[in-house]
C-alpha cells in the first residue's frame, strides 16, 4: 500500500451511514472542490505555485487511493483530509530547510508598547495601550470584517502565520504543532505570542480604529 493510500486510510473516519457509494469523478472534483482546496492551501502556504501543486497532489493521491474511499466520510472531508496531510508533509520539509526563530528571540511586535525604564518599567505606554474594542455580536460574521482579518493574517511573517493557523484554526495541540514544525515549546509560544500581538494591532488600526472614525 502506498503512503498516499495510508494517509487516506487515516482520514476516512466513519461518517453518517450511507447506502450508496458516491461516483468517483476526478474531473468533477476539480470543478467542485478545486477553488476551496486552493483557498485553504493558499491561506497556509501563501504561494500560488506551491498551493497549486498541493491541490494537484491531493487529487492525484485521491485518485490512487480511491479504492479506499467507500463513502464512509463525505467526499469533501476525504479530500480535505488528504490535503491536510500534504500540508503537514510540506511543513515538515520546510522546517528541515528553514531555520525558525531561536528560543528566547525578542518579539518585535512588542517594541514601543511598554516602558523600558523608570517607575512605570514594563507597564503599558498609554498612547499605544489596548483600547476598548466595541465589537457587536455579529462582528465575526461580518464579511467585511473577515476580509480585514484575513488581510491581517496575510501580513504575518510566513512561519509565524503557519504555526498560528495550525494551532488556532486547525486546533492542533501545541505538542503536535511543535513536532510538525520541529520547534521547541518556547519557540512555539514566542511565535504564537508574536502572531497575537501583530493581529491585535492590525485589527485595532484597520478595523476598530475605522469603526471609531465612523461614529
Amino acid at each position: 500500500m502506498s503512503p498516499d493510500q495510508l494517509q487516506t486510510e487515516k482520514v476516512t473516519t466513519p461518517g453518517p451511514s450511507r447506502t450508496e457509494v458516491p461516483q468517483i469523478d476526478p474531473e468533477r472534483w476539480l470543478d467542485e472542490y478545486g477553488d476551496v482546496l486552493f483557498g485553504f492551501a493558499m491561506l497556509r502556504v501563501r504561494d500560488r505555485a506551491i498551493a497549486q501543486d498541493l491541490v494537484q497532489e491531493t487529487f492525484l493521491a485521491a485518485l490512487k487511493a480511491k479504492q479506499s474511499f467507500a463513502g464512509r466520510s463525505t467526499e469533501r472531508s476525504w479530500l480535505f483530509g488528504i490535503l491536510r496531510n500534504k500540508l503537514v508533509d510540506y511543513y515538515r520539509l520546510q522546517s528541515r530547510e528553514t531555520a525558525f526563530l531561536e528560543p528566547g528571540s525578542s518579539v518585535p511586535e512588542e517594541e514601543g508598547l511598554f516602558h523600558s525604564g523608570g517607575p512605570g518599567k514594563d507597564g503599558w505606554i498609554l498612547r499605544v495601550a489596548p483600547s476598548a474594542w466595541e465589537a457587536p455580536d455579529d462582528t465575526l460574521m461580518n464579511k467585511e470584517f473577515q476580509v480585514v482579518f484575513q488581510e491581517c493574517v496575510s501580513g504575518l511573517p510566513d512561519k509565524v502565520a503557519q504555526v498560528f493557523l495550525r494551532r488556532e484554526v486547525d486546533d492542533v495541540s501545541s505538542e503536535e504543532v511543535c513536532k510538525e514544525f520541529d520547534i521547541t515549546p518556547n519557540n512555539f509560544w514566542v511565535m504564537l505570542h508574536r502572531a497575537r500581538m501583530a493581529l491585535r494591532r492590525c485589527l485595532e488600526v484597520n478595523w476598530f480604529g475605522r469603526s471609531r472614525e465612523r461614529k
Binding site: V36, L60, E168
Partner: protein, 76 residues
Amino acid sequence: MEARLRWYQWLGMRIHLLYCVWCRRYASQIRFLHKACGGLDTETQANPSHTLSPEAKDTMRARLQEAMKDKPPPPQ
C-alpha cells in the same frame, strides 16, 4: 488554550488583572482573536481572492486525465 499556569502564577495574574485595565482589555482581545479564527476555517467556504486560474485548472485537468489513463492498481 494555553499552557497551564501554576496556582500561584494564576493567582498573581488574576490579582494583576484586577487593577490593570489594559491587561484586561488585552486578555479580552486575545479571546476575540481566538473566536475570529473560526471565520478563517476556509474548509467551509471558498475565498474569492484565492481561486485557481483557468490555466491552472486546465493543467490540473490534463494531469488528472493522464493519471486516469494509467493502469489501475491491482486489487488487494
